[in-house]
């Protein structure tokens, strides 16, 4: 009995610790989410004034540096964030496509709607809102911007898996000039390939398992997968095993070495106890269901 208070004290402490851990875990998740939201906001702010490089680059041929940062900044975006970026750019009278240096067009005349495709086929005929047209400098830019938009993931950035996060965004017309991208690839090239290859393999494996997501990285349960090192040469199973005959009648139940049994554990223990009792002193009461006798 003397140990009782001590154990209760330790258990309450561990409960406190556990509560603290859970609270910290959720606080971290929220903090991460806030960080990403702030990152998106700052990226939006940066992209309002894009592109940085003017002539000879234009929307169809953006400077490699701009295109690269644009793609990188856009990575955590959701389509709705991208729409917000377009609105912000339009407020500052830029074309909605972030890599286009032109100002947006202002449609002349009043009216809420415009009629498009009057002299083409019937399927080209469209009635669109004037505001929609005023978002861009040209239909080509609208196409480019929406081409990027459909590649953005609908999942919020903090719930994405590593696969989604690493997904690259393509532009409708990738830069024709090679100088910047070549330098980029030169930078990426690794000389210590043997070490890097192993790391890459491990990274790929982790990616495939999906254990690189934000949630898994600081999960409540610490999972470490430990490979079992097998040093001896594997042997093929043979039929002339000695105790095989004893297992023959239950072998069809065996799944990967595990034989499932029937009946609950308690029932089995009960039976075992009954067997023991018969031998010892004939006491037949089992430990279960004695409450009603009191």
């Amino acid at each position: 009995m003397s140990s009782y208070p001590a154990t209760s004290a330790t258990s309450s402490k561990t409960k406190e610790e556990r509560d603290r851990e859970v609270a910290l875990y959720h606080a971290n998740l929220i903090q991460q989410r806030k960080d990403i939201e702030l990152e998106i906001l700052l990226s939006t702010e940066t992209l309002i004034d894009y592109p940085l490089a003017r002539s000879p680059y234009d929307a169809s041929n953006p400077s490699p540096a701009d295109a690269k940062t644009f793609k990188e900044l856009l990575r955590p975006f959701q389509p709705s964030d991208y729409d917000a970026l377009i609105v912000e750019r339009n407020i500052n009278e830029h074309c909605g496509y972030a890599l286009c240096p032109n100002p947006r067009v202002k449609e002349e005349g009043g009216g809420r709607f415009r009629i498009l495709g009057m002299n083409g086929k019937a399927k080209d005929f469209k009635v669109v809102e004037k505001e929609e047209l005023e978002k861009w400098c040209s239909p080509a830019c609208a196409k480019r911007a929406l081409y990027v938009r459909v590649q953005l993931s609908e999942t919020v950035a903090w719930e994405r898996g590593a696969m989604e996060n690493a997904a690259n965004i393509d532009l409708l017309d990738e830069p024709k000039s090679e100088d910047g991208s070549l330098a980029e690839r030169m930078e990426k090239m690794d000389i210590e390939t043997d070490n890097a290859a192993g790391k890459k393999d491990a990274a790929n494996l982790a990616l495939e398992r999906g254990d690189k997501t934000m949630a898994a990285r600081n999960a409540l349960v610490n999972i470490n997968i430990q490979e079992k090192d097998v040093s001896k040469v594997p042997q093929a199973p043979s039929l002339d095993d000695k105790d095989l005959s004893g297992r023959l009648d239950s072998m069809h139940l065996t799944l990967e070495g595990h034989t499932s049994t029937f009946g609950s554990r308690r029932e089995r223990r009960h039976n075992e106890e009954l067997d023991g009792a018969n031998i010892d002193d004939g006491e037949e009461d089992s430990e279960e269901d004695t409450d009603w006798q009191l």
Binding site: E37, L38, L41, T44, E45, I48, A84, L85, V87, E88, I91, N92
Partner: protein
């Protein structure tokens, strides 16, 4: 021909007059709001007549200049006292109250985005304003609203729309009087009723009256209602 010209002129003038009237009412409500929060404003500033308003803020081209309507106010001693942190046994030198001068800006822009909000925040920090109230004629973009929590550590920004300020909601007969309690009064209240603060009824941070008074999370307001039977009835709400 002459009559249509005259007609158009008249219509234009009337539209301008309506616009000025709206601005005058918004301006008056803002002044009342700032004074009700406890900042120092003279009666002449708050109860300005429409004619005086037009005379003061009309520019050469006949329209009202929103830029000229911006103003700042500093807290009264009474307000500083209400926001001060009480001296307690384990906190003999409490930090100074979390209030300061307020800056009210009327933004004429037809769109309010991140840029405008950033500029406003920068203006506040550059001039050491503790709080800023931004009054716009149009909706602020959602992205721009995210700036507010991002700069919350430096300055406090509140946003109102002109259309929301045409009438002072606290003067409506169905809106009871809300009085902000100081920290001492708050602890006294909790002790008297033996409550934890979370056991009080609540008022939301986005409640129109809470926005009017600029309430902060954790503050308690006393709401005094008229009662048929008791004459006056006071209840308390915690801002969440």
């Amino acid at each position: 021909m002459a009559s249509t010209d005259e007609d158009r002129m008249r219509k234009q003038r009337e539209a301008g007059e309506r616009e000025s009237a709206k601005l005058w009412r918004a301006c008056r409500t803002v002044h009342e709001m700032v004074r009700d929060r406890g900042y120092q404003l003279s009666d002449a500033e708050v109860t300005m007549s429409f004619d005086a308003f037009k005379q003061k803020y009309t520019t050469d081209d006949g329209s009202i200049s929103r830029k000229m309507m911006n103003f700042s106010a500093s807290p009264t001693l009474e307000m500083i006292k209400r926001y001060s942190n009480p001296v307690t046994a384990h906190d003999l030198h409490p930090s100074s109250p979390d209030i300061g001068t307020i800056w009210v800006e009327f933004l004429p822009d037809s769109n309010v985005g991140i840029k405008q909000m950033r500029a406003f925040a920068q203006h506040l920090t550059a001039n050491n304003f503790h709080t800023g109230i931004l009054i716009t004629g149009v909706n602020i973009t959602p992205a721009a609203l995210k700036i507010i929590p991002a700069v919350a550590s430096e300055t406090r920004i509140e946003c109102f729309m002109e259309a929301d300020l045409l009438v002072n909601i606290t003067h409506h007969e169905l809106v009871p009087q809300h009085v902000l309690l100081s920290k001492e009064e708050r602890t006294a209240l909790l002790q008297r009723y033996r409550l934890k603060d979370t056991q009080l009824p609540r008022i939301q941070l986005g409640d129109p009256v809470a926005r009017y008074l600029g309430l902060r999370r954790g503050q308690v307001v006393k709401i005094i209602r008229k009662s048929e039977t008791a004459g006056r009835y006071a209840s308390y709400r915690l801002c969440v």
